[in-house]
């Protein structure tokens, strides 16, 4: 009964999304007030139906209803309740339901947020969102319905993929999807502007908080995913340039570029067509990412049940959504005129370079991700590129970006004279270079050529970001939250650069074979292996080792790396033991039984690695702080002022 109810809710949601799209887009085109008024009830109904469908799927998992194929394939009666709920998005069909449900939530939020904006514009925004919802619902019902029944029902399920049985799974996909889907709002704003054929500085101000919010979620989601991979996969790596990771990273790079270009469009009325294009591309890349991950055209460590049928459907959807958006762009963008010019060393040019470099970085990642596809399409066989390609090419565009950031942050809008800002630029650079060299050659030894550069760049970014806020504080000028948020996000970036440099340069690793009671040395730490004991979990069994870690003889930690075998899927996973100590991560992974009571162990010491993810959180927090700025709240409260714009819009439509 419950699965049927869920399926029924999905169908209703699809029909409501169709109405939402139709009234939202056609209503303003035909200037039908009442059609536009129907958009809000349609979107509310749609999200209620999606919540019902989501609830039904959760209920089927909680009740262990193994007559539902998706539940039987991804759960088991021995699976703890927490993971039974998280298993809802553990595989393809359920994660789509989550995706659409979150899109519904963003759509309702956008409907509320755009209430005070001109009616035709708001209705078009919700209409475009409805079109996306409709496409995804049609896709789900046609190719990936999670409510299909099994006859006869299975006595028990096949269990959730053991790698996914981790608290990280509960948080990672919902947060990441919230980010992906949030970019749909920016896309919808761009779509609405193109349908109207009109884009002004107000448009940029309305779009900014949505983009920044999506970006902040995306940042958190990627960081959480990386952290999850770090400690569940047990390889000690945090980024693998895997197609699925790239699929989330490319929209992030675009969204970052978009945030900066929106700032220029809002403040100066420039870069209009470029901003529009970025808004379209950021979401398009998350759609293309969805395609790459779920169609099976690329092989990835994050195996999603993939099939070419699904791929064909998504490709058709891509053509409709992205194709029509880009066609609309080709038609409308030439109409947009920049409102002013700027000088070479003004803030605008630095943000232009920021955009060029970010888009270049994104393009190199895209090229690397697509390389296997392109080479096989050209008949050259499957060519796969890995970190040896990604690391240097990515750095090539990112290093100049980091350096330019520390200079450009001091630049003023419009005017190009940087000479009065030379002092803070030079002072921060010298301080950063000193700190960088001191850290690399003083505290640690060794490292690579790039390590002092990396540390210095990170420190320079942090110092430069602080110059303006400190200056304002000294002159008793209040700092707007937008500036504070920007500062925080840039400090986060600085911390990120420093920690990633440190991890890349100073990680110590050793594979050892130890019998009970034997000791191995790595860096300043001693590792004493205390033997193996059997372990027993709710749906797995395995062996656990005990390792006592000391530093110069004084105790640091007792660590318990495990190897688990999950009963139903007979999968062995490594649960590494990770400890943080003095900002350093100690990681122990249990390897093979070598006989004679000896076991292979991988020991790793990774300085500052935790800061990589903390830095991402700082960046996201900066974004959230910026959204809470008064300016955006004023944008909504200023209804009378905005209504004056309405006649202008209707006029432009008539014309």
């Amino acid at each position: 009964m419950i699965p049927e109810l869920g399926q029924f809710a999905l169908i209703l949601a699809m029909l409501l999304a169709a109405l939402q799209a139709f009234f939202g887009i056609v209503g303003p085109a035909l200037k039908r007030e009442r059609w536009m008024a129907a958009v809000t009830p349609a979107v509310s109904g749609q999200v209620v139906m999606m919540a019902t469908a989501m609830g039904c799927l959760v209920a089927s998992f909680v009740a262990n209803d193994f007559s539902v194929a998706y539940v039987a394939e991804n759960s088991n009666s021995a699976l703890p309740l927490f993971y039974r709920v998280a298993a809802v998005w553990g595989s393809h069909s359920g994660s789509l339901i989550l995706w659409i449900f979150l899109l519904g939530c963003w759509s309702v939020a956008a409907a509320v947020g755009t209430q005070r904006l001109p009616k035709p514009f708001a209705s078009r925004v919700i209409g475009v969102l409805g079109l996306i919802s409709f496409g995804f619902l049609l896709y789900t019902l046609a190719t990936s319905n999670p409510f299909l029944r099994l006859d006869p029902p299975w006595p028990d399920g096949e269990d959730l993929n053991p790698i996914l049985q981790d608290p990280g799974l509960a948080g990672h996909p919902p947060i990441l999807y919230t980010g992906y889907v949030g970019l749909a709002v920016a896309f919808a704003f761009a779509g609405a502007a193109m349908l109207e054929g009109r884009l002004d500085r107000d448009w940029a101000r309305w779009t900014r908080p949505w983009t920044t919010a999506a970006w902040a979620f995306l940042t958190c989601g990627i960081a959480l995913g990386s952290w999850w991979a770090y400690y569940t996969l047990g390889w000690g790596g945090f980024w693998f340039w895997d197609p699925v990771e790239n699929a989330s990273f490319m929209p992030w790079l675009m969204a970052t570029a978009l945030i900066h270009s929106l700032a220029v469009t809002e403040k100066r009325g420039l870069f209009k067509s470029w901003t529009l294009l970025l808004a379209v591309l950021a979401f398009s890349l998350s759609l293309v990412g969805t395609f790459l991950v779920r169609s099976g055209v690329l092989v990835s460590v994050h195996s999603f049940a993939a099939s070419p049928t699904r791929g064909t459907f998504i490709l058709a959807f891509l053509i409709v959504m992205i194709g029509s958006a880009l066609a609309l762009y080709a038609w409308r963008a030439p109409l947009l005129k920049s409102e002013a010019g700027f000088e070479l060393t003004a803030r605008e040019s630095f943000l232009l370079f920021n955009n060029i470099l970010l888009v270049t970085a994104c393009a190199t990642v895209f090229a690397g991700t697509m390389a296997p596809l392109i080479s096989s399409a050209l008949g050259l066989g499957k060519l796969s590129v890995g970190p040896p390609y990604f690391n240097p090419t990515f750095l090539l565009s990112i290093l100049p970006l980091l350096a330019l950031l520390s200079v450009g942050i001091h630049a003023r809008w419009k005017r190009g004279n940087l000479s009065d800002r030379a002092r803070p630029i030079v002072l921060t650079l010298i301080a950063a270079a000193v700190v960088g060299c001191a850290v690399v050659f003083g505290l640690f030894t060794g490292g690579r050529v790039l390590s002092p550069v990396g540390v210095a760049l990170g420190v320079w970014i942090i110092l430069s970001s602080l110059v303006d806020p400190i200056d304002r504080l000294r002159r008793h000028i209040t700092i707007p939250r937008a500036v504070l948020g920007m500062t925080l996000a840039h400090i986060g970036l600085g911390i990120f650069v420093i920690s990633i440099t440190s991890v890349e340069a100073f990680t110590a690793e050793r594979d050892v074979a130890l019998a009970q009671g034997q000791t191995a040395q790595l860096g300043a730490y001693e590792f004493r292996f205390e033997g193996i004991r059997p372990i027993q979990g709710p749906n797995y069994s395995g062996v656990g080792g005990t390792v006592i870690v000391t530093r110069h003889g004084s105790p640091v930690a007792v660590m318990y790396p495990e190897k688990r075998e999950y009963w139903v899927q007979h999968t062995v996973t490594t649960a590494s033991s990770i400890r943080m100590y003095y900002t350093t991560n100690i990681l122990i992974a249990l390897g093979q039984d070598l006989g004679d009571g000896r076991w292979s162990l991988r020991l790793q010491i990774r300085p500052l690695v935790t800061f990589i993810w903390l830095a991402a959180l700082v960046m996201a927090a900066g974004g959230m702080l910026a959204i809470s700025d008064r300016r955006y709240r004023l944008a909504r409260a200023a209804a009378p002022e905005l209504s004056a714009v309405v006649p202008a819009i209707t006029r432009s439509e008539a014309g």
Binding site: V297, P308, L315, I322, A377, H570
Partner: protein
């Protein structure tokens, strides 16, 4: 062509690449095992029903058989059981079971209660035989021809549809009665 159409053109190129990608991406159901087209692993294992005897690949030579990996602990295998009984009834092809990582007592009482679809059942207590076959989850079923070559592998419980559309068409017409007579 204005510069604003460049993104559209690039996107069209991307669509072409993706479409070729879909066309070339292998249908994963078709090549589920590297064993296909190669000789099945040689084995000689304890017999579940008759502990005095052994089940060996040598004695299975000369006729078609389905090598079915199962265990009483495996829910999907229990689900598959009724279909296996139907296959036995049809007399088309004998089933050779591999009781995987199972307790002999559990297996015998299960077969007594639910019926025994197998011609013979080999026992693989520690899972080492299953590794030779590349099994990564029960149930899995291998179709082996008289020359001992693996012709097809089916992952998951055999359904009516899989039996009729995947397994039966791979059997030669004339062979069927012979296999039925032997089983």
């Amino acid at each position: 062509m204005s510069r604003f159409t460049i993104p559209l053109v690039l996107f069209a190129l991307l669509v072409v690449v993706l479409a070729i990608g879909i066309k070339q991406s292998p249908d994963k159901d078709l090549i589920p095992s590297p064993l296909i087209g190669k000789a099945a692993p040689e084995f000689s294992l304890p017999n579940l029903i008759d502990p005095g005897q052994r089940v060996s690949s040598a004695t299975l030579r000369g006729h078609w058989y389905l090598f079915n990996v199962w265990g009483t602990w495996c829910g999907s295998c229990r689900m598959e059981h009724s279909m296996l009984l139907k296959i036995k009834q049809s007399g088309v092809i004998p089933l050779v079971g591999l009781d995987w990582k199972d307790d002999d007592g559990d297996a015998l009482s299960f077969l007594k209660k639910e019926g025994d679809p197998y011609q013979t059942i080999a026992v693989d207590h520690d899972g080492s035989e299953a590794i030779m076959w590349g099994v990564y989850g029960a149930p899995e079923t291998f179709l082996v021809n008289p020359q001992g070559i693996v012709v097809y592998k089916f992952i998951g419980p055999i359904t009516e549809q899989a039996w009729e559309q995947q397994i039966l068409p791979r059997l030669p017409m004339g062979q069927m009665p012979a296999a039925a007579a032997r089983s």
